[in-house]
């Protein structure tokens, strides 16, 4: 039991930090540009596939640097030549533009790399168990993932709190118009923020690629969870996104490792339920409903706290 708790906590924090790598970019982009980037998870996927391709050519370590830069450049290009054009047509058009973009990116990835998973391996340097607790080997690569996400998290925090750019970004989170009035080149800041945000998602993709499955549907699987994170945390709130990422990471990881069901808990009391049409609900295990946990959480949050956990804005 203790083993399960320790391992699940580690995995949950890891998954949560990965989610936050993406959710942070998404939140900052949303706060500044007012557009929720539907294609954000697609940049995560692009990162994973670029990482796979570059690590075949040059090795994993160059890939870890080049792939996010490449994805970030594409992201900046999308903002400069796509979103900026659509901006005058309103937020719905912007959201739909990124929706179409997500669709197209998935198709392009399928055309280039196919529909089946690619063989993206953990680099040999990190392919060993880091430590053993309760007879379970914990892979070093996962520790590396955790380390990278924490380093980036710390870096982001320092940039946001201590630098001039960070100050402008923070100001733009709450008063986007005022920043423009003060004479900053808002267009360039937007492009920069969009590029950095998508690059962060791509970093998550490169480091998650070898550990999870690198496949053309990975954006479609992760995207909705990402949006749940930003809505649960409160749209436009960075601390909220952090809390929600960890929460959803932990909830989902713990749910996967639990096997209880209603039948298991109350089965002896009324065995006849197992034969009626309720048998699905009666017999389903917590592990089986793990994929819908984030969405259940979303509905609960919406009922009890429509703003999100730490949200303040209503739009």
């Amino acid at each position: 039991m203790l083993e399960l708790i320790v391992i699940s906590t580690l995995n949950g924090i890891l998954f949560g930090m990965l989610l936050f790598l993406m959710a942070s970019g998404l939140t900052v982009i949303f706060s500044m540009l007012g557009v929720l980037n539907f294609a954000h998870a697609s940049f995560y996927m692009l990162g994973a596939f670029f990482g796979f391709q570059i690590s075949r050519w040059l090795g994993f370590w160059p890939a870890l640097v080049i792939a996010p830069l490449l994805a970030g450049a594409i992201g900046a290009g999308v903002e400069r030549f796509g979103l900026r054009r659509v901006h005058k047509n309103g937020h719905v058009a912007e959201l739909l533009f990124t929706f179409g973009l997500a669709f197209v990116i998935e198709e392009v990835v399928q055309i280039i790399w196919g529909k089946s998973p690619v063989d993206f391996r953990v680099p040999p340097l990190l392919d060993f168990p880091a430590f053993t607790i309760f007879s379970t080997n914990y892979p070093a690569y996962k520790m590396f993932m955790l380390l990278v996400s924490i380093v980036i998290f710390a870096g982001l925090l320092i940039v946001l709190k201590k630098t001039r750019i960070g100050l402008i970004v923070q100001a733009a989170l709450t008063h986007p118009h005022m920043v423009g009035h003060l004479g900053h080149n808002v267009g360039r800041i937007f492009m920069l923020v969009f590029g950095v945000g998508t690059a962060l998602a791509a970093v998550a993709g490169v480091i998650a690629g070898p550990a999870l499955v690198t496949q053309s549907n990975m954006a479609g699987l992760l995207g909705p969870i990402l949006f749940v994170v930003v809505v649960v945390g409160g749209l436009g709130s960075l601390p909220g996104a952090f809390v929600a990422s960890l929460l959803i990471g932990l909830v989902q990881t713990f749910a996967v490792s639990m096997n209880g069901s209603l039948a298991g808990a109350f089965g002896p009391l009324s065995p006849d339920y197992a034969s009626t049409w309720l048998s699905d609900i009666w017999g389903v295990t917590i592990a089986q409903i793990a994929p819908i946990m984030p969405y259940l959480l979303l509905v609960l949050i919406l009922i009890f706290r429509p703003m999100g956990l730490l949200g303040t804005r209503d739009t």
Partner: protein
């Protein structure tokens, strides 16, 4: 009091307008009746049925997006649940020999859609704008994932099937042949379209538009925007359920794909490409997208990529959709300045087409090298054969794409100038744009 009312209320429409209005509906009904006489093949009947279903579904979606300003990424939930309940209803009716004929089954689907929209809608419509879009996505994922867990009801991956011919027969119609299904779909399409048009003319429909345009002011007037959004959501779910039930009857099966993200995306594409600003927009979009998806899939293996590119092009260049583009020209037509536009349009058309041909050539060549590199390099796309390995084709693609882009940019600015000239003339003549 009556004096004020006479000032406020619009004048009653003239007899000619009334005639035109009712004539339009009668004409639509006659066209629906006559269509199978002109196109008698089974394939075209199936296509028409699919279009009818798609029209109802897209119009129901536009109650949300176009009329109330709610962008939903999960509208297929109500479509799919309507479909599942319709299949279950057919099975129950057949098993118990209940005196319910097939034409009433879509109503069951509609009521299912209404029920679930009423259940899930209150939470979903609490927020508007981007938050609503994300919430609709989350709720859709919740239902779609649950469908795979609750196997007894949803039938897992295989889905649930039924036999539509074993119900109570009216006038000897068994609903086995496709032509009878076509008439069933056509009748329901006409009813649903009239009902949804009528909805836009009610005070509720007007309040929906107000909530879309300025929710804050709606609150000052004394309405609750949340309630208005909720009611619109319920109506939308009802009609989506009807469409889903018709689809289930048409295919005699309902599976989890009905509820999924692809279905939600398709209806969004159809509605937006058609145009959300006008009532007829989603109808145009449904027809266009159905033909496009049926036609493109024969022409090229990567039709979904083109589909996505078309959607992006519409979002970027024609946010009003197809109908929006056409309706833009109405003031010019009235002012008689439309002919001024024609030369610049023709001039822009040539390089734009060249650019598109270049784009298609490059895409197909790249697809040849990435998807099936071992095959013969003589490939066929859009009915045209060419050699993907020949450098001339590459050069042609590059020249068409880059040159076309360069020239097209220039010509479209001319179109813009011509447009400004033509509209200002129209404005001088007192015709509002």
């Amino acid at each position: 009091m009556s004096e004020i009312a006479s000032h406020v209320a619009p004048p009653l429409p003239a007899a000619a307008d009334k005639f035109k209005f009712y004539g339009l509906w009668a004409g639509a009904a006659a066209a629906l009746l006559l269509l199978p006489q002109i196109f008698t093949s089974g394939g075209s009947l199936t296509t028409f049925s699919l279009i009818g279903i798609s029209i109802i579904f897209s119009l129901s979606y536009n109650i949300l997006l176009g009329q109330t300003g709610m962008l939903s990424f999960g509208h297929a939930v109500y479509y799919g649940l309507g479909g599942f309940l319709a299949i279950h209803a057919i099975n129950i009716i057949t098993a118990n020999k209940l005196p319910i004929p097939l034409p009433l089954v879509p109503l069951i689907g509609g009521l299912t859609g209404l029920f679930f929209a009423a259940l899930l809608g209150w939470v979903s419509t609490k927020r508007s704008g981007t938050a609503f879009a994300m919430i609709s996505l989350g709720v859709a994922e919740l239902i779609a994932s649950s469908a795979l867990i609750l196997r007894t009801f949803f039938g897992g991956e295989a889905g649930i099937s039924a036999n539509r011919t074993k119900l109570l027969r009216l006038f000897g119609w068994s609903f086995g042949p496709q032509i009878q299904i076509y008439y069933l779909v056509a009748a329901w399409t006409l009813i649903a379209v009239i009902a949804m048009y009528a909805l836009t003319r009610t005070p509720l429909g007007r309040m929906c538009n107000a909530v879309r345009d300025n929710p804050e002011r709606v609150q000052f007037v004394g309405y609750n925007p949340h309630t208005v959004r909720y009611l619109a959501f319920c109506f939308s779910g009802f009609f989506a359920g009807i469409a889903g039930a018709l689809a289930a009857i048409n295919f005699e099966i309902a599976n989890s794909a009905y509820l999924g993200a692809v279905q939600s995306g398709t209806v969004l594409f159809a509605t937006y490409i058609g145009g959300v600003g006008f009532f007829i927009g989603p109808i145009v979009g449904a027809i266009f997208v159905t033909f496009l998806s049926l036609g493109l899939s024969d022409l090229t293996p990567v039709w979904q990529l083109y589909f996505g590119l078309i959607f992006i092009a519409v979002v970027v260049f024609a946010p009003g959709g197809i109908t929006g583009l056409l309706m833009m020209h109405r003031p010019l037509l009235k002012a008689g300045t439309l002919t001024q536009m024609l030369p610049s349009y023709l001039m822009a058309l040539v390089p734009t087409l060249a650019m598109i041909v270049g784009l298609i050539l490059s895409i197909e060549t790249i697809v040849h090298y990435t998807v099936n590199p071992g095959d013969d390099s003589h490939i066929k796309a859009f009915g045209v054969s060419f050699d993907a390995a020949s450098p001339t084709i590459w050069a042609m693609a590059a020249i068409l794409l880059i040159g076309g882009f360069g020239v097209a940019r220039k010509t479209w600015t001319w179109v813009g100038h011509a447009w400004d000239g033509a509209t200002s003339v129209a404005r001088e003549k007192g015709i509002a744009a």
